[in-house]
């Protein structure tokens, strides 16, 4: 589904991604973890071109996303992205946040978009808040609406950039529950997160990143019980200590 071919990226003199060469299979649930500054957020943002790359190639569904003929907006419409800061549109209700893109991009009529949005809000447990403005919702509720919004475009791939990092601890659970539920659907999911419990339960595979490189890739069981790379061992030890 996703292929990184020798991908590198620099921010000025600093190399954020160093020669990333990996693949993500269709339907796979991947968790990317690592210390701050390891490049995991940068990596996930290159998939829908919120960040560009300086070397290498990225393929989504077999197509080079940087090739000259690529329709950027169509690419993004097929990929769902959930932000750490939610980024809901404050001037629109929860329902309107979910129907904006389908209607404006001509994918659905007002009625169809509304029906689908309501179904999705129901799925994330917020059908009763369909007419609420983001300012009237808690952080956890906003993030769940953000997930519904990403799903409204019926994407084939879902990306989560630290979806629970900005939430108060008591709200993390409700968002993870939604993500766990989604994982059962068979969608390809890539999730950058610190929530190791979630990774253990849901992920098919875990990538450990540090200093711009993928240092270890393993099943959750193997990664959490028998980490191979010394940096991964160090990272897990620190997490357990915390």
């Amino acid at each position: 589904m996703i292929a990184f071919e020798q991908v590198s990226k620099w921010f000025g003199a600093y190399q954020a991604l160093v020669d990333i060469h990996e693949t993500v299979a269709a339907g796979e649930r991947l968790v990317v973890c690592g210390p701050s500054g390891s490049g995991k957020s940068t990596l996930i943002r290159t998939i829908n071109r919120l960040e560009g790359i300086d070397a290498g190639r990225i393929r989504v569904a077999g197509r080079d996303i940087h090739s000259p003929g690529t329709d950027l907006n169509a690419l993004r419409a097929g990929i769902g992205f959930v932000f750490q800061q939610f980024n809901l549109f404050p001037h629109l209700t929860a329902l309107q946040n979910c129907t904006l893109a389908p209607r404006q991009l001509g994918r659905a009529s007002k009625a169809e978009a509304g029906e689908r949005a309501l179904a999705l809000l129901d799925r994330v447990g917020l059908a009763h808040k369909a007419d609420a403005l983001p300012s009237e919702l808690s952080g956890g509720q906003q993030q769940r609406v953000a997930i519904a919004r990403a799903l409204a475009m019926q994407p084939s791939l879902l990306l989560f950039d630290e979806p629970t990092s900005a939430l108060d601890p008591e709200m993390v659970g409700e968002v993870l529950a939604v993500m766990r539920d989604l994982a059962r659907d068979g969608l390809t999911m890539v999730c950058v997160t610190h929530e190791m419990g979630f990774a253990r339960e849901v992920a098919d595979r875990v990538w450990f990143m540090d200093a711009g490189r993928v240092l270890e890739r393993a099943s959750p069981g193997d990664f959490f019980q028998r980490p191979q790379h010394p940096r991964a061992q160090q990272f897990l030890a620190e997490i357990r200590r915390a």
Partner: protein, 231 residues
Amino acid sequence: MGFLEMIDTYWLYFLVGQYPDGPLGGLALTLLLATLGLLLALPLGLVLGLARICPWRWLRWPVTGFVFVVRGTPLLMVVFWAYFFLPSVTGHKTGQFSTMLIALVIFDAAYLAEIVRAGLQALPRGQMEAARALGLSYLGALRSVLLPQGLRHMLPSLVNQFAATIKETSLGYIIGLAEISFIATQVNTLVFTLPTQIYLLLGATYFVLCFGLTRLAYRLERRLAQRLHTP
């Protein structure tokens, strides 16, 4: 002539100038000029403001240059340029009203461009990212997500700009436009003995208009801050 007598004789002249026996003047002209000026400047200012932050350099640079030049020049200079050169550009003699109107539109558009630019740049970066991540185009994102939020934030600034435009109309005096400052001086020449009172009255008229508007802008700002307050 006493103060009250002066009011009694000239109140209509203050309000509408020589109308209907001549062109519109006085307070009515001031308000008409300010309203028309701001209304026409708004779409131009919006376009210029968007151009100031668009990703295309060929558009951004000339517009930035234009805005900088207009904002670095006194309004009176813009009025004089319009006054002396509009006739040769348009081919026929341009009246004082049209001259003043065009000068105001150009001048205000440059200031509105900055208000638009600041209003859009104050929005969190995540809004544009979220909109683009959903697949909306740059213009689509502007239209559905950024501008609706931005314009709401800009409303107090726009009301303040209207108050500023009312004050700007006073420069029409210098090219002989019969707006309220000009009328006041006319009356002063006729009456001769009440300059203090006449000019205080002139000041009071502007004060009522502009103070009212700036208070409105202040209330709008407060209401806006309350409404968008996130828990």
